[in-house]
Subunit: 269 residues, 2 copies
């Protein structure tokens, strides 16, 4: 099952079920008006969304329409919580090596995790508005799971019951290797001293592989690799007018989520 | 105008207007069902809430009832954003001195700010459930403002138009001195590279005064003062069964927000 949100309908958008091939969608308004509302009552809502998804993929969903990617908001246009782990240690090792620092031993057993901003996610084709190029404009590719309610001090096994994601995510080599902690472990870590509210986004951290031939998932990472290799970075940060595209494909090359395509734009006041 | 949320009505509670003396309340359901809904449409909703508040204080609001503090949820039971500054430099200076570190010069001109968890605030009389006393259970007193929508790169003067708070907050000596940055500056700092969504909470950081005779606003702070003075901390962290009370009073000793009264409790699974 794939879910998305149209920009229409207010700050939280309008929930749609998207076909497996990303070509069609159908509003889930009779089931839940928004993705947050669906997550707030996930146990009851999920089976009904799954049934609608099956109908859509069978070409039998009433009201299905051709999906226009530019009409999409972020799946959760505003979320209550985004905690981001550093599950890919090659990234941490590389950045620390560049400044001559060791990676603390605890990093391999305790996920490093920070609280990230969550209240204003851009749509996948929206411009990225930045006040100044001088800030050093970067990108970052990672994968996330969205939880329903997770009780405080849940174990990793219990936490796994609260994550919903397409299992194919782990089939992509770049994401599937070098991830030191599973999402279940990351969710359990985030819930160690507090419950997580439905709609909590838990991120993997920047994807990075031991094999630098796989490329990097952010410019800072690439510049670090270059600095270690050449003594100075060769790749510049992004400039106004630059465009970026981030996509996750399955083993057959098919797009799983559809592509994020964004252009860097100046702030107009 | 004072606003609060009853625990009834769902995850976001039920918006009430509270009388100036904190003794009575009236549901604002005809105006906005929840505080978040009010913030989402603040320019239209605020005048109507102000009118209801005036009626309540005049003893003329239909449906007014005696306020039971234990029936209150947090004003925003779940919020999209909580960014917390370190506006009280005496706290930072003291903690750094204890470990022999300097305060970077930038701290006096650029507010240090972190993204804090916002999705599960406790009610003011709810127990504080903690999985283990070994974690070192602390408390922290600070003041916050809640914004409506703040555009990216707003100036402090512009940011001040988006903060709503009772001016009396600044009349209390403990909060009103030693605050290096105004809330307008903190909001502008948080919005430097992104807009802030309505309902964003911006915190002052732990309140601390140069005058240590004023006491401390968190145990770590108190233990630091003791370590600097006595060589070791004398005040223990909190234990199960301990209770805490946090209250802000005006110049006449009247409670502004009502007291937070909470008991530390073990996690029962």
């Amino acid at each position: 099952m794939k879910l998305g949100s149209l920009k229409e309908g207010g700050r939280d958008g309008t929930l749609v079920v998207v076909s497996r091939d990303l070509k069609h969608a159908v509003k889930a308004a009779g089931i839940a008006a928004t993705l947050q509302a669906a997550l707030d009552d996930w146990a009851n809502v999920a089976p009904r969304l799954n049934a609608l998804s099956a109908d859509l993929d069978a070409g039998q969903a009433a009201g299905a329409f051709a999906l226009d990617m530019t009409a999409l908001a972020s799946p959760l246009p505003r979320a209550y919580e985004f905690v981001d782990g550093s599950a890919y240690l090659p990234h941490v090792e590389r950045v620390r090596k560049a400044r001559g620092a060791e990676v603390p031993a605890s990093f391999y057993t305790d996920p490093l995790m920070y609280q990230a901003t969550s209240a204003g996610f851009l749509g996948p084709r929206d411009p990225v508005v930045v006040p100044s190029e001088d800030y050093g404009i970067d990108l970052e590719a990672e994968v996330v799971v969205v939880t329903d309610d997770v009780p405080m001090a849940a174990t990793p096994a219990e936490a796994a019951e609260h994550t919903w994601l397409n299992d194919q995510w782990f089939g992509a080599a770049e994401c599937g290797v070098d991830m030191q902690f599973s999402f279940a472990e990351l969710v359990a870590h985030a819930a160690k001293t507090r419950p997580l509210t439905a709609g909590t986004i838990v991120g993997s951290g920047t994807i990075a592989n031991e094999d630098t031939g796989k490329g990097a998932s952010c410019l800072a990472e690439q510049r670090t690799v270059e600095t270690l290799r050449d003594g100075k970075p060769g790749t510049p940060f992004l400039k106004y007018g630059d465009t970026l595209r981030i996509e996750v494909t399955d083993a057959h090359g098919a797009s799983i989520f559809g592509a994020i395509e964004q252009r860097i734009a100046p702030l107009v006041r």
